[in-house]
Subunit: 492 residues, 2 copies
Amino acid sequence: MKLQLYNTLTRKKEDFVPINYPFVGLYVCGPTVYGDPHLGHARAALTFDLLFRLLQSEGYKVRYVRNITDVGHLEADADHGEDKIAKKARLEQLEPMEVAQYYTNRYHYYMHKLGVKDPSIEPLASGHIPEQIELVEQIIAKGYGYESNGSVYFDVEKYADSNNYGVLSGRKLEDMQSGGRSDSFTSEKRSVADFALWKKASPEHIMRWNSPWGAGFPGWHCECSAMSKKYLGENFDIHGGGMDLIFPHHESEMAQSTACNHSSAKYWVHNNMITMDGKKMGKSLGNAINLEQFFSGEHSLLEQPYQPMVIRFFMMQAHYRSTLDFSNEALKASEKGLERLLKAWAQIGKITPPVDTNTATNAENIVGLYEKCREALLDDMNSPIAIAHLFDATKSINAAAEGKKIISQKDILELQKTFDLILGTILGITIDNNQNDKTSNALSGAMEMIIDLRLKARENKDWAASDFIRDQLVKHDIKLKDGANGTDWELD
Amino acid sequence: MKLQLYNTLTRKKEDFVPINYPFVGLYVCGPTVYGDPHLGHARAALTFDLLFRLLQSEGYKVRYVRNITDVGHLEADADHGEDKIAKKARLEQLEPMEVAQYYTNRYHYYMHKLGVKDPSIEPLASGHIPEQIELVEQIIAKGYGYESNGSVYFDVEKYADSNNYGVLSGRKLEDMQSGGRSDSFTSEKRSVADFALWKKASPEHIMRWNSPWGAGFPGWHCECSAMSKKYLGENFDIHGGGMDLIFPHHESEMAQSTACNHSSAKYWVHNNMITMDGKKMGKSLGNAINLEQFFSGEHSLLEQPYQPMVIRFFMMQAHYRSTLDFSNEALKASEKGLERLLKAWAQIGKITPPVDTNTATNAENIVGLYEKCREALLDDMNSPIAIAHLFDATKSINAAAEGKKIISQKDILELQKTFDLILGTILGITIDNNQNDKTSNALSGAMEMIIDLRLKARENKDWAASDFIRDQLVKHDIKLKDGANGTDWELD
């Protein structure tokens, strides 16, 4: 069974065949660091975290590069206007790199909360100026770039003579030429469709470097071409990002690579967007909730806080190519579902294996469970199907844990393997590691004793004492559960 | 009262007067990222974390730059030999930036564990190649640099004609010229004392950039000159680092700046080194214990694990300019001391204020406590004296908490302020935030009930039950403490 990925370039699901087995080069567009991380950042990071983990679990040696855009990304993704980070720096009276560093740290902090693994290399756009200048020089040398008033532009029309500009996004050059983006800086450009490779810095622009064309800064699309080439080579396996990056960013990256006679990525993978209560999220709409607000619950649209693992699980419950709608209702359902899975996961180790193998039934929803989940994930990362299989298995786990069913040792092992590898290693769900072990052990010990005391009270028919214990515990969110195998407890 | 800092450059304690009040520029040499963070990294990071926090608490607006050395640092801190990171990459068959990224992440992880605040900007040497090339060009233009066989060297003798090379370290040029470091690459140099500004890359060297002198990479000392100038200006306030960096690194940085007609830092601050059981730490000596090993206790020389906050507190208990000897004995004493302070800190809020102010005594060790601690810290960061004052105050706290002494409301507020600001904000000691609140609350609730049950048992003269409770709790490391105000409990 092979991994299949939907390739935006070919518009179909394809077998994944790495260029240089067992190595895989994966490049993903990371954040432009001028604001707090929000759900959009989380979805892209989680989508490719899943892919990274899946590839690793399939035995590939992955070099995962995810960049930080700290220069060159102008407002409205355009070719003119203010640099997003420089603008924030101006407003906050800080050096631009202070702004970039601050939001880079915030990004890391929240991605770690979500259990996102660090990429192998996380290069900065501002840290690769020579490489970008070299790229621009190469494009000019190939005849696809021209200098104009201290800036350099990519000649889209000339490129389109012998190449397909629009091959990735499906856009037509004619449409871009006619209407498209109106641009007051078009006087510098030969065509309105041309995009900036290097921008001349205005006198007040502080992020600037010397170049053959004077002081300036790289165009937004250059960094990914230059850095993917530097760390993954001219042709690499997978380029990922959010769907909103297909045009103009990825289309332009492809054109830059092709202009330099190489093909860049073989597979282009894009995650879909997020909505909130059915609406597009946006600052102007007042529904752009950032991750901190989700975790703390402090936003008027949120009815409660949502733990990072709930957000992660919720995203994994949707296929990455579907839009995903956030609502309190859906999140609360996810929270309950995750709790159910986590509880089942913890129960597996407590299931008593059968003494006599004849008494054990081979449960239908356990046989081949791991392979079923793996198959779903290999099918273009169909995490919701994998999770559905896990939910199905919880029924057997719960029945076995309650002693209502005896399952075979083989099934127990299959369950353990599947939950550990699929839910844990690949879907990246972790049980809260922040738990203070000492406190937790002390609580277990204290509860053991309390259950003992209560048992004695009941044996002595001291119902008052027995009730006192139960009531006091309930007050402190501890619930006692009497069962066939004695009394158990859990936190509410 | 003013901050005083010992300035390595003038060899005396000086009043700290920032160049551009209230702004302070602080540059500190960060790690060369080719190995796991050890105590040396921790001491430098903690020393300047203390300074960063102290300056902020005094109202300064600090821009703190701490670099990451990911290129150009050659073995044995020399001018030839292999790049430390490239060598690690070769041994581990990785791209050098993968190695740098991995150990940068590890560094961040452990520094966060130690409660080290992120600097304002954390620039990479490899991300500032154009700036370093510009610096070398400037030095050549000023007549203090010369090209030789594709490399560029700093002409120390010529510089020494009109400047003092050795002004920071106190070394004499004659000594460096005669013996000093013997160097097989001296044929390229005019004098053995000269140091590399740019190194030609050998064909197999993968970390390389184009330059006016051909493909190569910057000399180790260039990055700090280039990056401090870029982010803090030509003249800035404080340059920090470990004492082992004074020569050749900081001496050479100073020479580079002076050659370009500016003075770089006004105050040079250096933390002293660490020994283990009285011996220098080193890989060859088998006593180079890294932070992970301290935290886990997994090293033959360690008798137990030590929590990050214990390591932090231990370092704060020594003055940064003293050598600091690590031993199990000293660490265990620190652990106990920290526990005592934390317990006292937590008790402050529980002290009953006096009903009648006449009954309250103004405790000598509380009046003016905050100012005494602050004074100690402003005196060249004398953290051990500040901590001694805190220990002194714990006596009053404990006596008041036990009801043996009534202290005034003013004293209670002074205690709270001092512990919060001195121990918390400036010394950076935090109570373990990882504690799972739910579990912890449940344990408190359960213990409250148990203490109740035990009281009832004792009232009923049911000594068996009362003893059973105490014994069971001891088994699970929970200790009951009977006192005047009833029974309290704590984890052992």
